[in-house]
Subunit: 267 residues, 2 copies
């Protein structure tokens, strides 16, 4: 499934043709979120191999500021689904991985050799842990997709940070950054490639430009929403403007204070 | 170059054997940072294809909260190198990409349709932009490595955030999260695969455990430091403990206040 060619995927992303074709990169272009899965199992040994890929991603200063908690127990999956936006793919995924920003492991290790790890209070290390987790997750995703596995990130793992921490037994100095659903796609999975901004609005040469253009992307996004029967979404700017208006925070408005209690971003 | 098999790469990461072998995932295991490059060019059309891969990564709610500024001018490269830890790979990379956490584009777009984007002040959207940038970058990296290109992330892009912003012409609501050096590896590039924590200290089932063990990883890291003649680094815990002691922030101690001025993490 999902075997668009380089040119087909490029057309779906940009509504345009590339200046040159690199067919061997097609697999990296044809990512999409997959939310319905086939019963085909993913053996634990393959998950271990994928975790090995994740751990092979770059990590700042080799500090490895992330962890994974896999949740397979159906009752616990149900609880996570309820806490994270009631998304059925959390219930149904073959594997569910919670990616954790982790200052706990390094603080424990440092403590054993007499270091107090006081620098972890800095915002720098909050960002570093989130970036480490994301680099690891995306390498895992690229590896999984290369084998035909579908994925869906769950940003809503941040909707109820305190309850998620309780459920996963997370110690101070850790929090759930995002979830990741894994499973071979169902035969009838609706998983379209979504349009993105043209490269002229994302990739800048030497200097960030003073003028950006939204019309082409808005037009292509509108056509996509129509094709998906996403009613009420007129174009990307209106849809995204609502998403960032401060009235659609789904619990995440507490993060600054909550994270400070857990030791992140205090200074 | 860098064609370790699945089993060879696993041994270098973990000092152990996997429960099963997945040879087709070898390319994802054998990442390493590459800091010296051959003169072989990377054509602009290939960089465009790689940016297309980056843009094909998942992005939260399709908000696309990141951008890239490529810096090819040698004098500007020199300035970035000086600002970002005096790292020669910044000067010598075939391409240098600055990844930008970007609230500016969406704020502009929202403004044009009458939305004020007030929610972007929340810490949630600071994290989201950093995660979006990291997911995009790592997909680009996996794609580049699949073609034999070497990479090195530059976290030190955060060492002098104000000067970097000035150099790249970054507007309010944006900042340079990390840099990325790209180039085909030099024949004599010293780019070893580094050891990582065993999976039992990183991948947890259902619950984060109360006991973690550092000895195996410290022992393997020590052997690695010896092999690389990294004097003064006794083991991972001591090396990493120093890195997070608060006295080695290299300018990044200002990030919380500086980011708030730029519109990030205000509430």
């Amino acid at each position: 499934m999902f075997e668009e060619s380089f040119l087909q995927a490029w057309e779906l992303r940009y509504g345009a043709q590339p200046s040159a074709e690199y067919p061997e990169l097609a697999r990296f272009l044809n990512h999409r979120s997959v939310r319905t899965y086939s019963p085909k199992p993913i053996p634990e040994s393959l998950v271990a191999a994928l975790i090995g890929c994740a751990q092979s991603a770059a990590t700042s200063s080799n500090l490895q500021l992330w962890s994974v908690v896999s949740v397979q127990d159906p009752e616990r999956r149900e609880k996570i689904a309820e806490l994270a936006g009631d998304q059925d793919q959390i219930r149904n995924a073959t594997w569910f991985l919670a990616f954790i920003a982790d200052h706990h492991r390094i603080r424990e290790a440092a403590g054993l050799v007499g270091e107090d790890a006081a620098g972890l209070d800095y915002t720098e290390f909050e960002l570093m842990a989130c970036i480490d987790a994301a680099l690891a997750a995306e390498r895992l995703v690229c590896a999984a997709e290369s084998l035909g596995i579908g994925i869906c990130y769950i940003g809503a793992l941040r909707n109820n940070p305190d309850a998620i921490s309780g459920l996963l037994g997370l110690p101070e100095g850790t929090f759930g950054v995002f979830g990741l659903c894994l499973g071979y796609p169902a035969e009838d999975a609706n998983a379209p490639i979504k349009p993105r901004f043209g490269q002229s609005e994302v990739w800048f040469r030497e200097i960030y430009p003073s003028d950006l253009s939204f019309e082409d992307h808005d037009r292509r996004a509108s056509a996509f929403y129509d094709s998906q029967k996403m009613k009420g979404d007129v174009n990307w700017s209106m849809r995204s403007g609502r998403r960032v208006d401060g009235n659609h925070m789904t619990g995440r408005e507490v993060l600054k204070e909550w994270l400070a209690k857990k030791g992140f971003g205090r200074r």
